[in-house]
Symmetry: D3
Subunit: 76 residues, 6 copies
């Protein structure tokens, strides 16, 4: 976690999983980011290339995968 | 995983985290479900009460938390 | 529907519309997939290129468009 | 379609399925609306109770289920 | 607002912010659109390139940024 | 903004609109929160009751409405 312009705030999104970036793939508009949260769980996040660049995301970065609870589907 | 009407299919959602339900809270329309994926990570899912009942979700169930990659925000 | 690694599971997403893929367009990170569900209804899905490739999506495939009910907006 | 305050506009959401409301169930904050788009396809939409009331949604209404293409998951 | 094929309809999405497009960036599948709603607030929307072209989005257009209330996260 | 357990982090969500809460309505599972961002723009956010309580959201609070750019639809 860094503090480049970051603000101290709590957010309502219930799911905040800490992990490390294992890959960053940039397209023209979007970027595909892989985050290893716990072996063997990997989270794939697709964000704007703009965000990936503003946050300076690179392999090895410690990041947090944030997911609002209404976005989760349950399979059983 | 059970097979009550389930179909054999792969789905495009990249994030499929296996875990166990630790709590089910029903409202009039929605339900709040807690899924422990790996100590100490807990996923909160808000789904319809209708779905929670159709899937028969109860504490201790082995389930899968499914999240499309476009829904993930990254914090750093 | 195939069973390449698929699991037998029910999912909480209420909307599961069967149809046939009529076009697959790949970008660098994302893919735009058209699914004809019933004449003249066509569903457009944007998923990762990675998912499109892992599922081997091609024209003519029988697929299911899955949509969580919280994602639907109503116009009247 | 009515014109109570409605505006003439096109929207970017690719998926706009016409149908008829078959049930409206109100909770304290949310509402669960069933829309039959084509036999036997029914779309479930969860919207705020506030919206359901402002649009005056009732059984038999002709409505449109609007879904952004990034919200669609594909199962195969 | 134009009326090229637009319909007179109210939509359930609670958040409809009027603004002006300040930039359009096209990728292969997706497009990144900036909308200035009120100084200094700018909304970034990522939609399909297909939608950007069908709506003919260009700098200076008066548009409306539409956001379903379940998609909003609160930071405090 | 407070710092009760908050972390110093930047997040990838492009849309972060500052405003003040004007109403909080709690249901059994969900909560409907109104945030005035700039006169006359009001953002409606539906979050879990659990989050509303953990953040201690009340009228008059300065908060930030966070929206991922893929969730924005454009009307023209």
């Amino acid at each position: 976690m860094n503090n480049n312009g970051g603000e101290i705030m709590d957010i309502s999104a219930r799911n905040q999983l800490n992990g490390k970036i294992t890959s960053v793939e940039l397209g023209a508009v979007m970027a595909n980011i892989k985050i290893e949260i716990t072996e063997p769980n990997v989270i794939t996040a697709v964000i704007t290339k703009e965000s990936a660049e503003k946050l300076g995301l690179t392999e090895g970065d410690d990041v947090c995968a944030i997911i609002k609870s209404t976005e989760v589907i349950i399979g059983k």
